[in-house]
Symmetry: C2
Subunit: 485 residues, 2 copies
C-alpha cells in the first residue's frame, strides 16, 4: 500500500475544503453536512462544488473541483456513488491531499459495489491522497471547529480520540466523553474503510499530542495481523479501548451488509486484542466510560481495591463486581481499620468495603479516603457517594418559626465534599493510587459528573459497576505497560 | 411464625402514624424522616413521640406512644437501638398494627445485636404487629403521599413495586421506574428483615392491585425453600425481577456487615430463582430497566426478534446482543423483505436487522414496523431510533434569503414519528407482538423516554443492549407463564 498517512493532517487541519455535492435541498446530507462545515465555525476556505448552482450559502459554487482557482487540501463527497470516481479524478488532478467520502453504495452492496470501491482506492493511491470512508458519517476536529459530518452537533475539544465504523456509535462514544467532562481530539466515522483502516487511525492518533486516549468501534478487520501489530504499537504509547461488533452470526450478517465487513471468531479476536494491549469493552456504554476513565488519572500498581461507600448495598454490589472482574477487595490492616473506626459511629462494622453507615457527618470522608490512599495496602480507592434524588419544590416546614429547607443544608454539606475531592485527586496523583468516585445521582457536591474541577479532574461514575469495570480495565492496561517496559 | 401479613396494609395506608424519635436537630434522621412524613403530603394523623419536646413541627409531641390519646396504626422508629424495644412494648400495649424500624445497630453488629433483634421480633409477634426493618431507610406509598423515609424525595404513584435490602439501591430502582415514565405502587427498604422477609413483601405485592411488576434487591435469604416457594407463587401472578448482592466472597462479607445476611452459592441461587419464574438481573440498571419493560406491553410468544435500525452499527450491536442473550434474529420471508424494500432506497441491503440506511424520509418507518408486527414471522420488534446530540445555539445559515434552522426541520420530522409510535403501540398490543423502541439520545419525537403517550405507552430504551436484555427477560418470563398455565 502506498498510503501517505501524514496526509491525514489535511483531514483534521485543512487550509481549504471542497464540498463535492453541496446542495440547497435542506433534507439532504449534501446540505446538512455542508451546512455543518460552514456553521460549525471552520475558519479555512470552503468551496462548494455542484454544476447546478452558481452560489450556495452565499459562497461561489464551482462546477467541478478542477474549476476551483485555489489550492484544496480536503475534499468531502456527498454525490451519488456513481459520481464519486469522476469527482475524485478531478481531485487528484488538483492535488487534493485527503478525501472524505460520505456517500454510501459501495462495498456494502456486494460485488459490483466492491469493484467500484477498489477503483476509488486505486485512484486515491495513484494521487497520494488519503481516503476516508466511503459510507461514513464524516469526521470532526473540534480544535479547528471542523465538523464535516451528519449530526447537528459540534462537540468541544479535548483528549479523547474516537474511531468508529458506525456514525451513530461514534456520536454515542463522543457523548460519553462529554458526559465525563472531557472533549474530543479527533473523531472519524471510518465507514467501509476502503483504504484507511481502523489501525491506521490508531497509528495516527498514537502520535497525536492532542489525544490522551483512543476509543474505537470495529466491525470488520481485513488483515488481522496488521491490525494487531499496529494496535499493539498504538497501545504501547497510549490506552486504546475497542468494542467489537459482529461477534455472533446474526451480528456478522448485519455487519456485512452495513460496512461489508468480514468477521472472524469473536473469542480469538478478543484474546488477541488483549494480548496486543487493547482494552476490550463489551457494550457501547462500557467502551465510552472506560475510555474517559484513563484521562487525568494514574494507572494502578496492582489489583487491590479499597471501597468506601455511603450505603451498604452499593458496597456489596461493588465488592461483587470487583471480584467478578478479577480485582481484589483485601482485608485492611488493624492499624488502618482503627484509624477509620475512630471517625465513624459505634455501630460501624470494620471491614472493606468501608461502609459509612448512612452517617450524616460528611467531614469524615476526607480523612478516611486519605488514610486509604496512603496506606500502602491498596492500589485503587473507590468512593461511592450516595446522593439521593431530590423532589423539586419540597415543602418548607417551620421549626420554632425558622424556615427549614433541608435540600439547602444538604447542598452545603456536599459542596464541601466537592472541595475535598479536588484535593484528594491531587493526593491520589501524588501517591500514584488512582481515586475513583461514583455518585448515583449525577451530582457530587452540586457538580455535574466530570465537571468537578472543570474537567481537570478524573470523571465521576454514575453506576458502581462501570467504576469497577474501569478499575479492572486500567489494571489490565497497567499490566500490559509493565510487560513492555 | 405468627406474621399477620394483612397488617402490612397499615404500613402503606395507615390512618395515623406515631413517630418515635422525632427531633428538631436538622441533621438527624429523626428530623429528616419525620419532616418527610409531614412535608410529603400525608393526610392522616401524625403524632411525634419524644419525651424531651412538647411540640415538633407545630404538632403536639408525646412522651411515649402510650400517651397518645388516639388510635395509632403505624409506628416509625428512629430512636437509638437500645430504646427501640421499650418503645415497641408501648406500641404493643397501644395496639399498633405495623412498626417501621429505621434504627441501625442490630443483627448487622453480630451476636449481641442479633439477640436484641430476635427480641424485637418476639415482641412484635406477641402483639400481632408486622415489623419492617430494622436498619432500613423506610418505606413509601405515593398513592397516599406517605414517605416516612430518608431521601428528600417523593416519587409519584404508579405500577412498580420495589423491595430492597438497601436504601440507596431502592432509590436507584425507583429512579429507573420514573425515568421510564412510570411511578411506584409501594416501596420498602427491608433492611435486616428481622421479621418480614423479601418473600413476604412479594406475597403482599402479588395480590396488590396497584402493583404491575415487582423488582427487588436481595442480600441474604434465611430460608431458601420458603423464599423460592413464595417467590414462585408471586411470579405466577405478576413479573418479579431480582438482583442478588453478595454473590462473591468479598460481596458476601460486605453483605454480612451491611444487613447481617448469610449468603449461599450464587450459581445455585440464580438457577433456583429462574426455575421459580423470577427474572434475574445482573446489574442495578438492568434490574430497574427490565422491571419497567413489563409495564404496558404484551409478553412475546417466542424468541424471534425483528430489528429495525436507523443506523447500521447499532443494528450490529443489537443482533450480537440478541444472540448472546438467547434470542433469534431470523431471516425474513421474501414477501416481507419486498414489502420493506419498496419503501427504502436502492442501496438498501435486504435483511434482518432492517437498516434504514440513514434515510431522511421518516415516513417509511411506520409501514415498515407495521409490516413486521403483522408478519407472523417474529415475536418481538425492536426499533432503534437514531437521534443525534444537538448543539445548542446552532448558527442559522441563510439560503436564498430564508433562515434555515435545521434542528426545527428535524423536530418536525421526529414529532410525526412520536405520533406514529403511539399508534404502533396500540397495534402491537392488538396483535400480541411487543414493540420495543430504543433511542440513543433521550428523545423520540421530542418526548422524554417513557413520556411518549403520557406514561401510558411502554418505556423507551436509551441503549440497545438494555432493550435486548429486556426482550430476553420477557421471553423467559413468557416461557415460565406458559409452563404453569
Amino acid at each position: 500500500m502506498t498510503v501517505r498517512l501524514e496526509n491525514l493532517d489535511y483531514l483534521f487541519n485543512p487550509g481549504s475544503v471542497a464540498f463535492v455535492g453541496a446542495t440547497q435541498a435542506k433534507v439532504k446530507w449534501g446540505f446538512i453536512v455542508f451546512n455543518n462545515l460552514v456553521a460549525g465555525g471552520y475558519e479555512g476556505n470552503v468551496y462548494p462544488v455542484n454544476p447546478r448552482h452558481d452560489e450556495l450559502l452565499g459562497m461561489k459554487c464551482y462546477p467541478s473541483v478542477r474549476d476551483i482557482p485555489y489550492d484544496v487540501d480536503l475534499a468531502v463527497f456527498t454525490v451519488p456513488a456513481s459520481a464519486v470516481l469522476p469527482a475524485m479524478a478531478d481531485c487528484i488532478a488538483k492535488g487534493v491531499k485527503a478525501g472524505l467520502v460520505i456517500t454510501a453504495g459501495f462495498g456494502e452492496l456486494g460485488k459490483e459495489g466492491a469493484a467500484l470501491e477498489a477503483e476509488l482506492v486505486r485512484k486515491a493511491e495513484e494521487g497520494g491522497m488519503v481516503l476516508v470512508g466511503p459510507n461514513g458519517q464524516g469526521a470532526c476536529c473540534p480544535a479547528n471547529h471542523l465538523y464535516p459530518w451528519m449530526p447537528l452537533f459540534y462537540p468541544r475539544a479535548g483528549g479523547v480520540g474516537v474511531i468508529c465504523q458506525s456514525g451513530n456509535i461514534l456520536n454515542m462514544l463522543i457523548g460519553h466523553a462529554l458526559d465525563a467532562g472531557f472533549g474530543v481530539s479527533k473523531a472519524v466515522s471510518s465507514g467501509n474503510e476502503a483504504q484507511l483502516k481502523t489501525e491506521d487511525y490508531f497509528t495516527y492518533l498514537a502520535s497525536d499530542p492532542a489525544t490522551d486516549v483512543i476509543v474505537a468501534y470495529v466491525e470488520g478487520v481485513e488483515d488481522g495481523r496488521r491490525f494487531l501489530e499496529l494496535s499493539r504499537a498504538a497501545a504501547s504509547s497510549k490506552p486504546v479501548v475497542v468494542l467489537k461488533g459482529g461477534r455472533t452470526d446474526a451480528g456478522m450478517k448485519a455487519a456485512s451488509s452495513h460496512t461489508g465487513a468480514l468477521a472472524g471468531s469473536a473469542e480469538l479476536f478478543d484474546s488477541a486484542c488483549r494480548q496486543a494491549g487493547l482494552v476490550v469493552a463489551s457494550t457501547i456504554d462500557q467502551a465510552g466510560i472506560t475510555a474517559s476513565s484513563f484521562v487525568n488519572r494514574p494507572l494502578p500498581a496492582g489489583r487491590r481495591v479499597a471501597i468506601v461507600t455511603g450505603g451498604g448495598g452499593l458496597g456489596v454490589i461493588a465488592a461483587d463486581a470487583c471480584t467478578d472482574m478479577g480485582l481484589e477487595v483485601p482485608r485492611l490492616s488493624q492499624a488502618t481499620l482503627e484509624k477509620i473506626g475512630a471517625l465513624l459511629p459505634d455501630y460501624w462494622v470494620p471491614g472493606n468495603p468501608v461502609d459509612l453507615v448512612a452517617g450524616l457527618d460528611l467531614r469524615v470522608i476526607k480523612p478516611i479516603l486519605e488514610a486509604l490512599l496512603t496506606s500502602g495496602e491498596v492500589d485503587s480507592v473507590l468512593f461511592i457517594f450516595i446522593e439521593s434524588q431530590r423532589s423539586k419544590g419540597i415543602k418548607i416546614t417551620e421549626v420554632d418559626g425558622q424556615a427549614v429547607e433541608l435540600g439547602v443544608i444538604w447542598d452545603m454539606m456536599t459542596q464541601k465534599l466537592g472541595e475535598y475531592l479536588a484535593d484528594l485527586y491531587v493526593m491520589a496523583r501524588d501517591v500514584g493510587v488512582p481515586l475513583f468516585v461514583s455518585s448515583n445521582f449525577e451530582q457530587v457536591g452540586g457538580a455535574e459528573p466530570g465537571t468537578l474541577g472543570g474537567g481537570k479532574n478524573p470523571m465521576v461514575y454514575l453506576d458502581v459497576e462501570s467504576a469497577c469495570a474501569a478499575i479492572a480495565a486500567m489494571s489490565d492496561y497497567a499490566d500490559f505497560k509493565r510487560s513492555i517496559s
